[in-house]
Symmetry: C2
Subunit: 508 residues, 2 copies
C-alpha cells in the first residue's frame, strides 16, 4: 500500500512538471514572437496589428493553461509527499505563480491589460505636451488598479504585508521596503556629499573626446561582438542583433539573444550596451537547462547585478582598457591610450534623465523614484503633488532645478505600465554587482591581471558558481548572498567603489 501511494504521489510531482513544462514551452514560443517583433518584423502598422493578434491568442492559451484546476490538484497532491528540498522549492514557486494567477478575477486582469495600453498612450501624449496634468487621471487609475491586483495577491486575511511590499515582490522577490530604505539611506548619505565634491567646481573631469568622431557601424558591431564573446557570451547558443532599444531575451539557455544599437558619432554607448546585455545573457545561458520553476533567474535585482558587473566592474576598470584599447583602435582606426579611454568612459555629470546618467549619479535617480512611488502607493502622496515633490527631491539630491516635467516626472515609462516596485531593483542590482566584484577579487587574487589580458573565463565561472547555477533556489537576494558570499546585500562595497574611483579619477 505504502509503495503504491508513494508512487502515485511521485507521479503527481512529475505530472505537475509536465504541465508546467508545456506552459513554459508556450511562453517561450511567445518570446520568439516578441523577439521577432522587436528585431526582424517589417515595421508596418498592419503587421504590428497582426502580430498583436498572434501574441494575444497565444497569451490567452497560456493563461487558460496556467489557471487549470488540475495544476492546483497536482500541487496539493505533490505537496503531501515531496521531501527533497529542491522539489519542495519547485512546488513553492509553482504554487505562488499559480495562486497569483487564480486570485486575480478575469475581469480585473482584462481591465489591467486594457489600462496599460490606454495609460501608455496618455503618458506619451503628456510627455510630448510636457504637461503632467494630462497624465494625472490615467495614473490615478493605474495606481488604483495596481493596488486592486496587489490586494488579490494577499495570501490570507492575516497577510499583513503592505501593498507596496507585495508589488515589490513581483520584481524583487522577498525584499521588504523597510530593508530597501535601510540600504538606500546608506547610499544616499554617502553619495550626496561625494557627488557635490566630485562634480563640484574644483574637480577636473576627464575628456570624453576619444569617444566621439565618425565610426563605421559595421566595425562597431564587430568590435562589440569580439568583446562580448571574449566575456563568455556563447554566440553558438545565442545571437547578437540590432534593435531600437538594447535588450536580452532567452528562448531557452541554448538560445539567448542580445541586441544593441549603434550611433555613427559615438562608439562607446554601443559597447556599454552590448556588455550590459552580455551580462544578462551569460546569466540566462548558465541557468540549469531543465527549465523548472527553480531554473529561472532569481530577481530583477540579481539580473541587473550581472549586467552591471560586466558593464561597470569589468568594462569601466583600468585593467579592462589595457585589454580593450588595442581592439578598439584596430576596429575603429583610432590611436588612443588606455588611460585616455579609461578616463573618457568614466566621465560623470549631473543630469536630469535617468537613462543617460552615469554610475555615480544614477543611484540618486533611483532613490528619488523609489521614495515617490512608495509614498503614492501608500496614499501618502497625491498624484497631483508628484511634480512638485519630484522637483524638490531632485534639488535636494542633486542640487539642480528640474526645468520641465518632460525632463522630470514624465521621463519614464514604468508608472504608465503599472510597474510599481521596479525602479529600486536597478539600484539593488548595482549594489549587488559591487559586492560580487569585491568577493570575486578576493577569490581570484590575480583578477586584475586576468582582466588586463582579457582572460574572463575564470570570472565568468565564478559568477556561474556563486549566482547563475542557483536559479531561484533562495527566497531573496539577501538570502542568496548570505548563503553564497557569507553576508547579505551590503551597499558599502558600492559606496567604497565609487568613493575610491571618483576621488582618484577627478583628483579631488
Amino acid at each position: 500500500m505504502m509503495t503504491s501511494t508513494s508512487t502515485s504521489k511521485e507521479t503527481a510531482y512529475q505530472q505537475l512538471l509536465q504541465e508546467l513544462d508545456s506552459i513554459k514551452q508556450l511562453s517561450r514560443a511567445a518570446s520568439v514572437l516578441e523577439y521577432d517583433k522587436m528585431v526582424f518584423m517589417p515595421m508596418n502598422e498592419h503587421s504590428s496589428m497582426a502580430r498583436g493578434k498572434q501574441s494575444a491568442a497565444l497569451a490567452a492559451v497560456i493563461h487558460e493553461k496556467s489557471i487549470q484546476p488540475k495544476i492546483g490538484e497536482l500541487l496539493d497532491e505533490a505537496q503531501t509527499v515531496v521531501t527533497d528540498p529542491e522539489q519542495k522549492r519547485v512546488l513553492e514557486l509553482a504554487r505562488k505563480e499559480y495562486e497569483k494567477k487564480i486570485r486575480v478575477p478575469t475581469e480585473l486582469a482584462a481591465r489591467k491589460a486594457q489600462l496599460s495600453s490606454k495609460s501608455y498612450k496618455a503618458w506619451t501624449e503628456a510627455r510630448a505636451a510636457n504637461d503632467f496634468s494630462l497624465f494625472q487621471e490615467p495614473l490615478r487609475e493605474c495606481i488604483a488598479t495596481a493596488i486592486e491586483v496587489a490586494n488579490c495577491y494577499k495570501k490570507t486575511e492575516d497577510d499583513n504585508r503592505s501593498v507596496y511590499s507585495i508589488l515589490l515582490d513581483n520584481y524583487e522577490v522577498g525584499m521588504d521596503p523597510a530593508r530597501i530604505d535601510q540600504i538606500f539611506d546608506q547610499i544616499k548619505a554617502a553619495l550626496v556629499p561625494l557627488i557635490e565634491r566630485v562634480l563640484g567646481p574644483d574637480a577636473t573631469a576627464p575628456s570624453q573626446e576619444p569617444l566621439q568622431g565618425t565610426f563605421d557601424i559595421e566595425q562597431q558591431k564587430q568590435l562589440c561582438q569580439t568583446i562580448v564573446k571574449q566575456m563568455g557570451f556563447d554566440d553558438t547558443h545565442g545571437r547578437i542583433d540590432v534593435s531600437v532599444h538594447p535588450f536580452t531575451m532567452s528562448l531557452n539557455p541554448h538560445d539567448v539573444r542580445i541586441t544593441s544599437r549603434f550611433r555613427e558619432n559615438e562608439w562607446y554607448q554601443g559597447l556599454a550596451a552590448t556588455m550590459h546585455e552580455g551580462g544578462h545573457a551569460i546569466y540566462e545561458q548558465n541557468l540549469h537547462p531543465a527549465s523548472r520553476p527553480i531554473d529561472e533567474a532569481l530577481s530583477m535585482g540579481m539580473h541587473e547585478s550581472q549586467s552591471l558587473f560586466w558593464e561597470r566592474h569589468i568594462g569601466l576598470s583600468k585593467e579592462f582598457w589595457d585589454y580593450a584599447t588595442p581592439i578598439v583602435n584596430e576596429h575603429l582606426g583610432t590611436n588612443h591610450s588606455p588611460e585616455a579611454l579609461y578616463g573618457a568612459v568614466n566621465y560623470a555629470k549631473k543630469s536630469f534623465i535617468r537613462v543617460e546618467a552615469d554610475e555615480l549619479t544614477y543611484p540618486l535617480h533611483v532613490i528619488l523614484r523609489f521614495e515617490i512611488e512608495r509614498d503614492f502607493i501608500q496614499g501618502q502622496l497625491s498624484v497631483e503633488d508628484i511634480p512638485a515633490r519630484w522637483n524638490a527631491d531632485f534639488h535636494t539630491l542633486l542640487g539642480l532645478q528640474v526645468p520641465s516635467d518632460e525632463q522630470g516626472c514624465l521621463q519614464d515609462i514604468h508608472w504608465s505600465m503599472l510597474a510599481y516596485g521596479y525602479f529600486p531593483t536597478y539600484l539593488l542590482g548595482a549594489a549587488a554587482a559591487a559586492q560580487l566584484a569585491h568577493y570575486c577579487a578576493k577569490d581570484i587574487p590575480d583578477m586584475k591581471d586576468k582582466i588586463k589580458k582579457g582572460e574572463f573565463l575564470e570570472i565568468k565561472s565564478w559568477l556561474t558558481n556563486k549566482v547563475h547555477q542557483h536559479g531561484k533556489r533562495y527566497p531573496s537576494l539577501d538570502a542568496h548572498f548570505e548563503a553564497e558570499l557569507g553576508e547579505p546585500l551590503n551597499p558599502s562595497y558600492y559606496i567604497d567603489y565609487l568613493v575610491n574611483k571618483y576621488t582618484e579619477l577627478y583628483q579631488c
Copy 2:
C-alpha cells in the same frame, strides 16, 4: 421571432469566424517559430530540441482547438441560414478542414507524426548508402499509413473517390487523377520527341559561361533584392533573408518573407530562386487580409504557377534580359550582352536529378513520379519493384540509364514524408503559369515592351486580378481558370511555349 432567430444564426457565423481566427493566429505564431528556426536560430542540438518542444506544445494546442465540438456546432448552426455565396464557401472550407481533423483518430495522427520522422531518417540513411532496400520497409509503412489516413477522410460510405484522389486533394484541391493523366499524357507526347530533337547531337546549346566566375555574395544579394522589389514584392511588408533551402513563408499578408541562397561561383541560381520565391510571396501579399478560410492560396499548383510565372515567363524571356543585363553587369562588375545572358539562363540538359532539371526536361521528371506513386498507392506496383520501374521509365522518357538509386528513386524527400499527391502539383503549376502568361500577353498588348523596361506593375496587377484576390473562392484550378480565363487548365500553352522557344534557341 424570425428576426431573433436570424440574429442568433448570424451570430453563429460570426462566432465561427472568431474561433477560426484564433486558431489561425496560433498557426501563424507556429510559422514565426518555424521561420526563426530556418533562418535565425543558432544551430546547436539543444536549441533545436528546445524549439521542437515549443513547436510541439503549440501544435498540440492548435489541434485541440481545431477539433473542439463547438466548431462543429457553430458550423451546423451557421449552415442553416447563411445564403451569401462567399459565406457559404467559407463554411464549406471550414467544414472540410474540421472534418478532416476529427475523422483521424488521435492514435493514428500520433502514429503518422512519429512515422514521418522515423522514415525520414531511414530515407537519409538509405540515400547515403545508395541502397533502396534500407528504405523498403519504412516506405511500405508510410504508404499503408497514408492510405489509412486517406480512408478516414472519406466523407461517407458511398464516397467512391480513389485513395490517390483523396491524397491528391490535400495538395491540389478538386483535381482528379484521370484529369491529370489527360494533361500529363498530352505533355509527355509532345515533350519526349521535342527533347530528343532539341537536346540531340545536332543541336547547338548556348554557353553557360556568363553565369560562372567569382561573385561577391553581398552584391548578389543586392542584385536579387533590386529585381524582386521591381517585380512587385513589397519588402516593407515582408523580408528577404538567406537560408539553406530557399522558401517563402507568410506570417500574414503584411509580413511575407522569402529566403534565397547564394554561391560564390555562380550567380544565376540565386536570382532564379529569389524570383521564384518572389512569385510565391506576391501571391501571399495580395490575398485578402481578412484571413478567413477563403482568403488562402487555392492550391499547391496555383502557388507554383505564380512562382514559375515570374521565374520562367518573365525571368527566362528575351525582354527580361534587356532590362536585367545592365543591373547584373553593374552589381557583378561583368560586361555581358542581353543575348549572351538570355542564352545562358536557358541552357537545357538531360539530367538525373529533378531539382537540377531545367524547364524543358523537368516535366518528365514529374510525370515519372506521378505515375509511380499513383500505381503504388493503388496497389498496382510493389514497393520492391520501384527501382526497376523508375529506371525503365526514366529510360523511356529521357533515354538515359539511371546509374544508381541515389540518383534515381531515392533522390526526393517527399515519399518519406507521406506526401503522396504532391509531385504532380509542380507540373500543373508549370502548365498553369504558361497559360497565365498567354492570357496576360493578350490582355496587356505591350507586355513585352513593359518587361524590357522593367515595368512589372501592370503584370502584377493582372495576376492579382485573375488569381491572387480570389483566394480559395473556386473549388479547383480548372474551375478557377474556367471562370477567370474562360477555359480550364490547358497544357497546350506550355507545350507551345517550349516548342517555340527551344526550336529557336537551339537552332534545330
